[in-house]
Symmetry: C2
Subunit: 402 residues, 2 copies
């Protein structure tokens, strides 16, 4: 081994932190542990029988294609089916606006790679998705946090922050937004707010990165238009994924955007992994082609709506009165907040050991290091019964701590 | 869309080039085209029936695991089976020395990400693997080429280059070597040469990145020890992949190395794609567990040995006398060389149109831009018959050009 590894590591890796969520996975195998921590879909949603049938058909009819290298842009059939689905939802796009990535995480990484020089600033919510923060951080981005209210990121504070960065000759490279059922806050941005932020993007000539993994999973209220659709000028890049509505183990996501931007992402993806597995892409395409995705999403919505309901009722019943939480209209997460002096990070291992419940300490989601008294709770993975038992155990644990 | 996209792109992406090979894929669908260009395995090697059986079993017994998110380090069963296989081949490693990546390309990308600051130098052969060059280039590496003879990279020139870089206060971050059946040159490094280069690495305290996708596919001669084994101190990082011996469409590779280095790769991989598809990993693990990999490799060797033989004989028969080529002991490629003034890049599209044969122009593999009269030929993908017909057509084409 060389004498001093630290000496030869890149600046990039020195700034990287292990993901708090990925690190938690180590504990998730413990018997009896109830996990509200990951962003895992319920395994009960996996369409095992349909997949078996489809995979056998793929192996019988197109194995030589599915097991071979594929195009960096992604499987043309899958891209076509996804484009048609978005078109039926009102988006004005064509195949040139769509590429496949190795799930959304890769899209976040590639966005960072093609736009971020060390020290470049980007705008994001306080809190915001941890995987986005990791990807941007790994290229040395300066992350500028904007507080959120119940409608989403505050546009006045956002504008002030943008102006401040422009004055410092560091105009933000993009605004990172998860408008629907935000991870971790569970907040959905109103159409008015979406338009205000798009207007800011136009005024200051800045791209918007719209990360939308949960959009299809709405349990109440009305669907909002995507920022991509509301913008209509190609200034928004929209990310989607199968990870929450189909199978995360397939690792399939996609980017919708202006062809000039996709072109750069494709070149970067060539160096990153050549192509997303053609095998899982073709299976997913045949699954969509059979019309199985939409009924599956309906089924998931019914299941998660009930899980969310039980978690909200159980939090009400068991958590100390000094706690509050968001009430998400969809998605997989809500964010709970304890008294000002609570440190959810310091208490996490105790909660896992004593109460056998795991959550994610909220501070990892705040790019400014705040949020120490917050925690993200996932309600999709555990059974309905465990959502209740977990809240009871967690409630009792926190009652002793506050 | 924003006013000037070029203004906001990162320095990284400005230096990236589209992969010559990936771009060629566009032409590969043309009817009648014979492709010696990609590094594709023959689809006849894909174990379709065995896979069908295994996938049905995985779906029946462990679908909830295989379709879910997985550990960033990779499937523990797959890692264990790979470690045991390497141990049976003489490598002294344990599970802590092994992580899974989204094929070797991702390993090359992550190595670049964790070691390369813009302008940092690395050492590589002239020629060297294009995917490595792309990955290193995408982080702004300064690539220092070392000429090769029939034993591999020249150690005296390599030492001179290292000393030169050290004097310029830019000690190379690592030496990139493909010792077995090098892509593109088809050259295998002798044990003596391996030891000389390892001695240089020790003398100057530099890491070696040993990229080894073809090692198992030897058609004649004796297996050489890996540089990882010959070093024995953890100063070599060894990359492996299923892409040439199983299914490239699964996108599974691995890194063997010192745990301190793997630790950094894992943190970088969290941001890059969270995890390699657990679905394809588990299928691959069950395939190995059934003892199917070794007989499959034997079968592939028999097939490719014959393909190589026919290509070598056909080159001899049909190519102009002013051409020469390497005779690889294994792998998928050989490199041909025309007269000094030949420009294979300028002739490529004509060769595709007129002769209906595709190759890869050699210059993309030379980090110093030389090699204009060279070309890489793949002999694994096409049928034996097409290897002969393709050489005949290509030979006639070049006879008109030189």
């Amino acid at each position: 081994m060389i004498t001093d590894l630290q000496d030869v590591l890149s600046v990039n890796v020195k700034g990287m932190k292990r993901s708090a969520i990925r690190e938690l996975l180590k504990y998730l195998g413990q018997p009896g542990l109830i996990s509200f921590s990951g962003g895992f879909p319920s395994p009960a949603t996996f369409p095992i029988d349909d997949l078996k049938e489809i995979i056998n058909e793929v192996m019988d009819t197109e194995a030589a294609f599915a097991l071979q290298y594929g195009a960096t842009e992604g499987d043309i059939l899958l891209r076509t089916l996804l484009v048609n689905r978005y078109k039926s939802q009102g988006l004005d796009i064509s195949i040139e606006n769509m590429i496949i990535t190795t799930a959304s995480q890769q899209a976040l990484e590639l966005m960072a790679k093609i736009f971020i020089n060390r020290g470049d600033s980007i705008i994001m919510g306080l809190p915001s998705y941890l995987g986005g923060i990791s990807a941007f951080n790994s290229y040395g981005a300066k992350m500028i946090g904007v507080p959120m209210d119940e409608e989403g990121e505050d546009p006045n504070i956002m504008e002030a922050k943008i102006v401040e960065e422009i004055k410092a000759n560091n105009k933000p490279k993009f605004i990172y937004i998860i408008p629907d059922f935000q991870n971790p806050a569970g907040i959905t941005m109103t159409e008015k707010r979406r338009k205000e932020i798009i207007a800011l993007a136009h005024k200051y000539d800045i791209l918007i990165l719209e990360d939308s993994p949960y959009r299809e999973l709405r349990y109440e209220g009305e669907h909002q238009k995507t920022m991509y659709e509301l913008d209509g000028t190609g200034q928004v890049i929209l990310l989607g994924t199968f990870s929450k509505i189909f199978c995360p183990g397939f690792r399939i996501g996609w980017v919708i955007g202006h062809p000039d931007i996709l072109d750069k992402i494709v070149v970067a993806k060539q160096a990153a992994d050549l192509c997303t597995p053609p095998f899982t892409q073709r299976i997913a395409a045949r699954y969509m082609e059979r019309g199985l995705l939409d009924p599956k999403i309906k089924e998931i919505i019914e299941m998660y709506r009930e899980k969310r309901k039980v978690m909200l009722e159980s939090l009400e019943e068991f958590m100390p009165k000094s706690f509050s939480w968001t009430i998400p209209e969809g998605g997989l997460f809500l964010m709970a907040k304890g008294p000002e002096n609570l440190d959810t990070n310091a208490l996490l291992l105790d909660c896992i050991k004593d109460a056998k419940v795991a959550y994610v300490a909220g501070t990892s989601f705040f790019c400014d290091g705040t949020g120490k008294n917050t925690m993200r709770l996932n309600f999709s993975y555990e059974t309905i019964e465990n959502n209740r038992i977990g809240c009871e155990r967690m409630g009792n644990f926190f009652k002793q701590k506050v």
